[in-house]
Structure formats: structure tokens, C-alpha cells
């Protein structure tokens, strides 16, 4: 495991260096997307292109529409104008397409959303068995593999209610990984956790990043952003206000709103 990580970490460095030339494969393309809640225009003219293997951190004040935006990517929220193309499939009202996209896009929620009536193992095998039609035994082996990766294989037969918040969130990550997604969305994965548990979840996410997963994270963990993000996106009032590499973003924010926001959260 450790050796694997080391190798992939090396690859990452190479990967990053040649990112702009070789890796032109587009994972997510959002063009001119608008969304309204009734009369209220929550997302305004969102344009975002995410390359395969890219890791993007989205931050911004509460109510800025960052969660809504990434929830549009797997159609938990519907957009009314513009285009969202995920993995080459455009999201429309076509339910079949939506399910296809959801199969390839994993999502981790602020409140974990584990299924409390199922054991950890059953949580992880449910979708592979019913959606991917994986044989039960194989699905269980795969689930154990991912549970080992998030370092909680010994909890496999417990129920979510018996685990700590950090453990539950790692299970939620493993559950998503069991579908072998090509893209992972994280919606404030550490915001509901006790301070002591944030680290274990972030470490898992860093590990994932090092393996080249395409990731979109809504988070305020700036250390995480600096460490793994290719780009940081700042949103305010339903718009993407600023977009830059982490070092530029944190050290030389250009937009006034960004400067204010950073001064509030970095003490």
C-alpha cells in the first residue's frame, strides 16, 4: 500500500508537469449554465471545464451556490439553462442518461448519507450488486478492498450508527469507490466532523488524489486545497468570481470579494 502510494505520488508530479500538454481529455464541461429556485437565480452563467485527472477545490461564502453547482453535475439538482456534459453525456431529462452519469460519478455528502439499516459492507455492496449486477461475492471482495483502503475493514459488519463521524465519512467514500467512478464529487465532506476526525478523512482524499482521480471538492480546508488542488474556484452570489492555481489564489487573490473571504477564514 505504502509503496503503491509512493509510486503514484511520483507519477502525480510528472502528471502535473505535463498536464497542460498531454491530458486534454475533458471530464466535465459546463457551458453557460443557469439555475433558478422559483424566481431566484441561484447559479448565473457558470462556465467550467474539468480535465480528466484534475482536482478542483471550490470555495466561497455560504449561499454562494457552490454545493448547488456540484449537485447539478450528477443531477441531484436540475439546471434550467445551458449545458452540462459529463463524461461525454449531456444531462437532460433523459432518466437513462442521468442514471448512466450517476454510475460514473461518485458523490460524498456533508452528512454522509449512509444507509442506517444496512451494515457497512452492505452499504458498499448495494449499488454494485443492483446497479452493476456484480455477483455478491465479488462485490464483497471489492468492498473489503476499498474498506481496507480507507483503513476500516474491521468495521465491515457494524451498522453506520456504531461508527464515529470520521469513520462514517470514510465508509461513504469507500461506498462511492465501489462503483469504480471516474469522477468524485465532495460536498463539504469535513464540515460535519469533529476537529479530530477531519484529518483522517482528508488523508483518505489526498490518497485518492494521488491516484489520479478526477475530483471536485467543495471545502474550506485550505491546507487540503494547497496540497492537492490543480485549481481553486471561488464562488459568490451564484457566480464563479475567481479561478486560479492554489498558490496564486491564496497569495495573490485578485478579486476584492476573494480577498475579503480569505481574510475571514485564514487567521
Amino acid at each position: 500500500m505504502a509503496i503503491e502510494n509512493a509510486v503514484s505520488a511520483d507519477e502525480i508530479k510528472v502528471d502535473r508537469a505535463k498536464m497542460h500538454i498531454s491530458d486534454t481529455d475533458v471530464a466535465i464541461d459546463i457551458v453557460g449554465m443557469h439555475k433558478w429556485y422559483g424566481e431566484f437565480n441561484v447559479l448565473k452563467d457558470i462556465n467550467l471545464r474539468v480535465m480528466r485527472g484534475e482536482r478542483i477545490v471550490i470555495c466561497g461564502p455560504s449561499g454562494s451556490g457552490k454545493s448547488t453547482m456540484i449537485r447539478c453535475i450528477n443531477r441531484l439538482e436540475e439546471h434550467q439553462k445551458g449545458k452540462i456534459i459529463v463524461d461525454g453525456k449531456e444531462l437532460t431529462n433523459d432518466l437513462k442518461k442521468i442514471d448512466e452519469v450517476r454510475r460514473e460519478v461518485g458523490m460524498v455528502f456533508q452528512h454522509f448519507n449512509l444507509f442506517p439499516h444496512l451494515t457497512i459492507l452492505e452499504n458498499c455492496t448495494l449499488a454494485p450488486i443492483w446497479v452493476r449486477k456484480t455477483p455478491k461475492k465479488q462485490a464483497e471482495e471489492q468492498a473489503m478492498h476499498f474498506l481496507r483502503r480507507v483503513k476500516i475493514p474491521e468495521q465491515a459488519n457494524k451498522y453506520p450508527g456504531q461508527l464515529s463521524g470520521g469513520q462514517q465519512q470514510r465508509v461513504a467514500i469507500a461506498r462511492s469507490l465501489c462503483m469504480n467512478p471516474r469522477i468524485m464529487l465532495f460536498d463539504e465532506p469535513t464540515s460535519a466532523l469533529d476537529p479530530e476526525m477531519i484529518k483522517e478523512v482528508l488523508e483518505t482524499m489526498v490518497g485518492l488524489a494521488e491516484e489520479g482521480m478526477t475530483m471536485l471538492c467543495v471545502t474550506h480546508e485550505m491546507g487540503f486545497a494547497r496540497k492537492v488542488a490543480n485549481r481553486v474556484i471561488f464562488m459568490d452570489q451564484g457566480q464563479i468570481v475567481e479561478e486560479n492555481t492554489p498558490s496564486e489564489f491564496f497569495d495573490h487573490p485578485r478579486h476584492e470579494r476573494t480577498k475579503l473571504f480569505l481574510s475571514q477564514i485564514l487567521h
Binding site: L76, D99, R102, F109, F112, N113, F115, P116, Y159, P160
Partner: protein, 385 residues
């Protein structure tokens, strides 16, 4: 200064100590639960007085003075009433229940054919008991036998008319047989139908939603007596001449539809209690609508509303007595019918018969209630999110 402070720092962790004596043992229990404060003490004493006033006379009536054997009303009537008991006697007439037991169970089902009912009852118990005990394996096969095969076999056996079994028409059915048949069919039909109606009512498709709402609100807005009466009296008027179907079947359909409407609302309550995150979690994994409902939402929702579901079952079980309105006789109906039997009419007959009917109803309802509580505890995984 700092040296003084050190006195307050523990050098080792404190070990847990046993609770003081006054917090343990039966005396502590009595003080805590019966005489915790003056008000509690008064309530306890009043409660004990009420029990002391009611229980001994009831016990005397039901056991000490009761007439257990006998062949006609003289055994349960006083001398003044033309019987053998001393004047002023008051006791239960269990002899009446004993003599009429067959009728209470089977109604007017022909005596030489009653083995068929008993056989059905044995199959019912033999299939139900393993289904209810979680440890018994092969639940799938068991459920298939109970919910699909058993009704067909039971129907054939009870109605007859094939395989050389004489035909027993449903107006002859009665007693506990009718009560249990109505309840079984009502329960087996109303739960799935109620779930579908509840899902329909929460559906985003306007037509499905409207149909569900109309069905539920119509049925719920009408008393069961009306539903039964309509099914029995009005329906034939609308059917073309020559087309008619069995009155008992109509009662079955009436009771089942009625219970489904209530069940739908109970289940809807459960569905609404499931957090949005559960739906989203299932959606994000790519589960389809029916998979999401069947695997994620319904197991949790139904577990939440077990008390409500069982409440509906129990209510329906007791409501079956209302079929007397269409001259069908369930257990209570048969018991009441027998009050007017001149061979048994005595002042003690009605109370004895009613107490017996109450006891039977109570046994079934209490059984359902206890089982539901057991299931609630078993299914509790101790996590509410």
C-alpha cells in the same frame, strides 16, 4: 503558590465505585417507582384500592361462581328464573360457551366438513409461525408458500366443489373463520396496496398522484359500514342483470380497500420521515426509482411506522365485526346470534358470551402488538440519520 496547586492534581485515574445501597435492590425500586413523592404515593394507593375493588368480584364471577358444565339454560339460571342455581347467584356461564364453541369457531359450516377448516387452520399456523421467527431459514420459500400457495389451497378447501369436496357456500361460513379470513385477506392485500398508494401520492406524476389522492380521500371519508353496505346492496343494482358475485367476496374487497387507504396514509407518514439525504445517497449511486424505494427508503420507512401499521391491522381485525350489517356473522356476530337461543337464554349468557368473544379478540390483538414491539427492537440499528 504553584506547590499548593499541585495538591489538586490526580496522580492516578479514579476507579468506578459501586452505587450506594439506597440506589440498589427491591426497596430502592419501590421507593423510586411507587412512592417517589407524596403525589406518587397517593396515586399508588388509589390505584391499589381500585384494583382491590375490581379484581376479587371479577375473579369470583369468572372462576369461583362460574358454571363450567351443563347441557341447557337451567344450569345457568337461578331457581326463581327456572334453573338450579340458588337465588342471588351470579357467575359466568362457561357451559354456554362450551356448548356453542363449534358455532363460535365455524358458524354454520356443516359439522361433517369442519375438518377442512381445521386443516386450513393447521396449515396457517404451520406456515405463519416459522415466518415470524427470524432464526428459521428459507424465508423466501416460506413467504411464497404463505402468501401465494396457502390462499389458493385454503380457498379450494374451504369452498369445495372440486376433488369430490362438497360445495360449502359462503353464507354458511361464520365465527372465528370469517373473522380470520377477513383479517388475513385484509392484511395481505392492504399492506402492498397501501405502499403503492402512498408512493403514488408522493409521486411527481400528476395523474398517478391525483388518482391516489382521490382513492385515499374517498375511502377514508366514508365509514366502513357505508363501504360494506354499498358493496352489498348498491353494487348489484349497478351490475347488469345476471351478473353477481359472492357477498363474502364483496365484503373482503370492501374491507381490504378500506384498510389500504388507511395503510397508505400510515406509510406516507413513514416516507416523509426519511431524510432527503437518503434519497440523494441512493440517487448518487445510480439506483433507479424502484430500487431506491425497495432497498433504501421503504425498509427504513416501514420500520418507523410499524406501530401505525399494526394499529391499522388491529383496527381492521376488530372492524370485521361490522360485516353483521350485510348479514354475515363473524365471531362476535355468532356469539350475539346465540343469545336468542331459547335453550340457553339466561341473565348470565350474554355477559359470558361477550367476555369469551372479548378474550379471543384480545388474544389476537395482543399477540400482534407484542410481535410488533419485538420486531421494532430487532430492527433497531440504533441510528436515526
Amino acid at each position: 503558590m504553584s506547590q499548593n496547586d499541585l495538591h489538586y492534581v490526580r496522580s492516578e485515574m479514579a476507579l468506578p465505585q459501586p452505587a450506594p445501597l439506597r440506589e440498589r435492590g427491591p426497596l430502592a425500586w419501590v421507593r423510586k417507582n411507587l412512592f417517589a413523592n407524596p403525589f406518587d404515593s397517593v396515586l399508588t394507593i388509589i390505584g391499589m384500592l381500585v384494583v382491590a375493588m375490581i379484581v376479587p368480584p371479577l375473579f369470583n364471577w369468572a372462576f369461583v361462581n362460574a358454571q363450567w358444565t351443563g347441557t341447557d339454560r337451567t344450569f345457568c339460571a337461578t331457581v326463581a328464573q327456572g334453573g338450579i342455581q340458588p337465588d342471588g347467584w351470579s357467575g359466568a356461564c362457561w357451559a354456554f360457551v362450551h356448548a356453542k364453541f363449534g358455532q363460535f369457531m365455524f358458524g354454520r359450516y356443516p359439522i361433517e366438513e369442519r375438518w377442512r377448516v381445521i386443516l386450513v387452520a393447521i396449515m396457517f399456523v404451520a406456515l405463519l409461525v416459522p415466518l415470524l421467527i427470524p432464526r428459521v431459514p428459507r424465508k423466501g420459500l416460506n413467504a411464497l408458500l404463505f402468501f401465494v400457495v396457502f390462499p389458493i389451497v385454503a380457498f379450494t378447501l374451504l369452498i369445495g366443489g372440486v376433488f369430490g369436496l362438497p360445495h360449502v357456500e359462503t353464507p354458511l361460513w361464520g365465527g372465528l373463520l370469517v373473522t380470520l379470513t377477513l383479517s388475513f385477506v385484509g392484511i395481505v392485500v392492504s399492506l402492498p396496496l397501501g405502499i403503492i398508494l402512498a408512493l403514488g401520492r408522493r409521486s411527481k406524476m400528476p395523474v398517478v398522484k391525483m388518482l391516489s389522492v382521490i382513492f385515499i380521500e374517498t375511502i377514508r371519508g366514508v365509514p366502513l359500514i357505508t363501504v360494506l353496505f354499498m358493496a352489498s346492496v348498491m353494487l348489484p343494482l349497478f351490475l347488469p342483470a345476471g351478473v353477481s358475485f359472492d357477498k363474502f367476496l364483496r365484503a373482503l374487497i370492501g374491507v381490504s380497500l378500506f384498510a389500504s387507504a388507511y395503510m397508505a396514509e400510515v406509510v406516507r407518514g413513514g416516507l416523509q420521515a426519511i431524510p432527503k439525504g437518503q434519497y440523494e445517497g441512493a440517487d448518487s449511486l445510480g439506483l433507479g426509482y424502484w430500487q431506491k424505494m425497495r432497498l433504501v427508503v421503504l425498509p427504513q420507512a416501514l420500520k418507523l411506522v410499524i406501530p401505525g401499521i399494526v394499529n391499522t391491522f388491529i383496527g381492521m381485525f376488530k372492524d370485521t365485526s361490522l360485516v353483521y350489517i350485510i348479514s354475515m356473522f363473524d365471531l362476535l356476530g355468532v356469539v350475539r346470534q346465540n343469545f336468542s337461543d331459547p335453550a340457553w337464554a339466561s341473565p348470565q349468557t350474554p355477559s359470558s358470551g361477550l367476555v369469551f368473544a372479548a378474550l379471543v379478540f384480545w388474544m389476537f390483538c395482543f399477540g400482534m402488538s407484542r410481535y410488533s414491539i419485538y420486531m421494532e427492537h430487532r430492527l433497531d440499528t440504533g441510528h436515526k440519520r
